[in-house]
């Protein structure tokens, strides 16, 4: 049985354009932390820092006692969902879901079994061989969830994960995400502009605070 560790962000700093972005918070096992703030304030940049897609100038990121700060994204074991979902158009649904497992050298039979189980859980098994361009918005969303979950990640990062869905589908997607997260309760950080996401999904929310001259923006909590 997997034991989940907290995600700790310690005095993380990054100079972004004309301001300094700073973050200092912990996300515990099973917790879902919402990052909120106006457009362009640095929310997505923070997620990219946490995923390793960009390098911080200072500070630390830890999962339990394991230091992640200097690790490239492929070594962090993070489940990330992008705003536009970033499904690989040249691959089938199943290939998308099992791509991370393939990168970890898991045998084809085994990864297909994991992938199909996940797709079955998300009612997408019949679409396994389809191209991702054929999926509806809701289905694509579920494939993105499955792809992030397949890795059994140490933490989740979600960048406005429901922005491509209409309001009816958003409610279902939130419920599904909550259920899936209950089954794999790794620390989860998400960025949103939608107050309903915060209300329905977040265990806690961090709003950005800015210095008077806006040269320092920080997420503290």
């Amino acid at each position: 049985m997997k034991t989940f560790s907290s995600l700790s962000v310690r005095q993380l700093e990054k100079k972004v354009g004309n301001f300094l972005l700073r973050a200092n918070f912990d996300v515990k096992r099973g917790e879902r932390l919402a990052l909120i703030g106006p457009s362009g304030c640095g929310k997505t940049t923070l997620l990219r820092l946490l995923s390793g897609l960009i390098q911080s100038d200072r500070g630390e990121i830890l999962i339990g006692d394991r230091h992640l700060t200097d690790l490239p994204p492929e070594k962090r074991n993070v489940g990330m969902i992008f705003q536009d979902l970033a499904l690989f158009p040249q691959m089938s649904v199943l290939e998308n879901v099992t791509f991370g497992l393939k990168m970890r050298d898991i045998a084809k039979d085994q990864r297909e079994q994991i992938g199909l189980e996940l797709l079955n859980r998300l009612n997408l098994k019949s679409r396994a061989k389809d191209g991702v361009q054929l999926l509806s918005g809701g289905e694509a969303q579920r494939v993105a969830f499955a792809r992030a979950l397949a890795l059994k990640p140490d933490y989740f990062l979600l960048d406005e994960p429901f922005s491509s869905l209409d309001e009816n589908l958003r409610g279902d997607a939130r419920s599904l995400l909550k259920d899936l997260h209950a089954e794999w309760p790794a620390p989860l950080v998400f960025v949103t502009h939608d107050s309903r996401d915060v209300q329905d999904l977040a265990s806690r929310a961090l709003r950005i605070s800015e210095s008077a001259d806006r040269s320092l923006r920080s997420f503290d909590g």
Partner: protein
């Protein structure tokens, strides 16, 4: 006009435009080619001729080696650019310089290098090595532009998603970057192969004679250098068409399966991790790009000094060829842009006829001007003596040569998403022409200006299309310059190159100034 009447009016106008373009192509492309294809027995007879065999070998060798090296070079520049994206604009500017330089000016630069080397004791002389070197140096920037366009289309979030899922750099390159760039890679390879196969001025002046004779050169020599040998010219032309068509037939079906659109380029977001050593990569990129582009400009502009010191030569020998070139280039620009505009207008409506317009309009790009010219010669020589000089045929050949380029750029301008603007203008009371003016004209105008300037510039240095239908009273600047080079009258060639570059730059500067300014009468609206 009622909505239905308006729809009928435009449908008829588009059909008329399509038919006009198809009629034009039928007369000036298909009829000459058809006439040429009637002579197939010449190929069978000609292929056994050792001179023809040698031309096939040289043509294939130089085209395959030049195109492969050019595309590999272009790929290296593209990869450097992805490590130093802040230099993108500057690098693209440098890469576009060879586009605006008449081929003859580039050839002249390489001839000067050869003579410079000789002055320093190296025994350099025109040879196959110099043909390949010049082709590669001239085409690397072109390949880099095509490949960079393809690289820009790769979604950066897709790459980031792959990285967060565990993909290392090799997997990213193999499975995501190169797999999506592959169509552009093969398009670049095919286009450069075709250009090298059809290359004329460069091979003529840098080849150094019979051992390095290509099929394109063979056509010219059989018609206008020495005794007229029509059978041999036809054999050279048909064999060249076959050698161009074979790789095209292999590559094109593969490319057509992939959806490859030129107009959906996305900006690449910079990846912070890749910015390490970005400055070094950037400097290297700019250095190589400048080395491949700027020498042509500087070498040619050095001839300006003769404008001040040799005024008699300027008026007696340079003025007439320059005026002839201005006339031919202007006419070429007008004919090409008119045909391309009509084609794009027709293509706005999907129909079977319009599919033919698109396919046939692109065809002249795969046929060398000398091959097409030979077809015209065979078809019309009973009525028009080519040795008396036929400016209309020269303009036709050049216009058809540049039609695919004009068609592609204007098509892109037309496809820019302005539906909402057009619709808004219409609901606010504008008629279709006024709505076009406020929505699409901005992108059309700049594309027309740039395409026109580039066609003008390229036709100024065009030698192949000129070489079949010139006469002693119709010698444009390109032909005169190549004669001076052949007679080692280098200071005269210097002045001619400077004149060519000045006119090319003037056209481009005018296009850039006009494209940046507000459309005519815009503020009044």
């Amino acid at each position: 006009m009622r909505l239905q009447d308006e729809a009928i009016f435009f449908e008829r106008a588009r059909k008329g435009a399509a038919l006009f373009v198809l009629f034009f192509l039928a007369i000036f492309v298909f009829a000459p080619l058809g006439r040429l294809l009637r002579e197939t027995e010449e190929v069978i007879a000609g292929i056994l001729d050792p001179q023809v065999l040698s031309a096939i070998r040289v043509s294939l060798f130089q085209a395959v080696v030049s195109s492969t090296l050019s595309v590999v070079g272009g790929l290296i520049l593209t990869l450097l650019l992805t490590r130093a994206r802040t230099y993108e604009k500057f690098a693209s500017l440098l890469w576009s310089i060879p586009f605006s330089i008449p081929t003859l000016v580039a050839v002249y630069f390489w001839l000067q290098i050869i003579f410079f080397l000789n002055e320093f004791g190296f025994s350099a002389r025109p040879s196959l090595f110099w043909i390949i070197t010049a082709h590669v140096a001239f085409n690397i920037p072109f390949a880099a532009l095509l490949l960079t366009q393809a690289r820009m289309k790769i979604s950066e979030t897709e790459l980031e998603a792959a990285r967060t899922l565990g993909a290392g750099r090799w997997v990213l390159w193999k499975s995501f970057i190169f797999s999506q760039m592959r169509p552009a890679f093969f398009i670049a390879l095919l286009q450069i192969y075709m250009m090298c196969m059809m290359s004329f001025a460069l091979v003529l002046l840098l080849g150094g004679g019979p051992p390095n004779e290509t099929l394109e050169l063979g056509i010219y020599k059989a018609l206008r250098a020495g005794q007229l040998d029509m059978d041999r010219a036809v054999a050279f032309a048909l064999l060249q068409m076959i050698l161009i068509a074979i790789p095209g037939a292999f590559i094109m079906p593969h490319l057509l399966k992939k959806s490859f659109s030129w107009s959906q380029a996305k900006r690449i977001l910079p990846i912070e991790g890749e910015k390490r050593h970005g400055k070094i990569f950037g400097m290297l990129l700019i250095f190589i790009s400048a080395l491949l582009s700027l020498p042509y400009l500087f070498t040619s502009l050095s001839g300006i000094r003769y404008f001040f010191s040799e005024s008699e030569f300027l008026f007696r020998e340079l003025l007439r060829p320059t005026l002839i070139s201005i006339g031919l280039s202007t006419a070429t620009m007008v004919v090409s842009l008119t045909l391309a505009t009509l084609s794009v207008f027709a293509l706005q409506q999907r129909s079977k006829i319009n599919q033919w317009v698109m396919t046939w309009g692109a065809l002249p790009g795969a046929i060398s001007p000398l091959t097409l010219g030979l077809g015209l010669w065979l078809l019309t020589s009973d009525f028009f003596d080519p040795f008396l000089g036929q400016p209309v045929f020269i303009v036709l050949l050049m216009s058809l040569q540049f039609l695919p380029l004009a068609l592609r750029w204007l098509w892109e301008a037309d496809q820019r998403d302005t539906k909402n603007l057009y619709g808004t203008a219409r609901v606010l009371g504008a008629n279709p022409f006024q709505a076009f003016w406020v929505s699409k004209w901005i992108s059309w105008r700049s594309s027309l200006l740039w395409t026109g300037a580039l066609i003008f510039s390229a036709s100024f240095g065009e030698l192949a299309a000129v070489s079949l239908f010139y006469s002693e009273s119709l010698v444009p600047l390109s032909l005169q310059m190549s004669r001076w080079m052949g007679r080692y009258a280098f200071w005269k060639a210097d002045a001619a190159a400077a004149m060519m570059i000045l006119f090319s730059l003037a056209g481009l500067i005018a296009a850039s100034r006009l494209a940046k300014s507000q459309p005519w009468g815009w503020r009044r609206g």
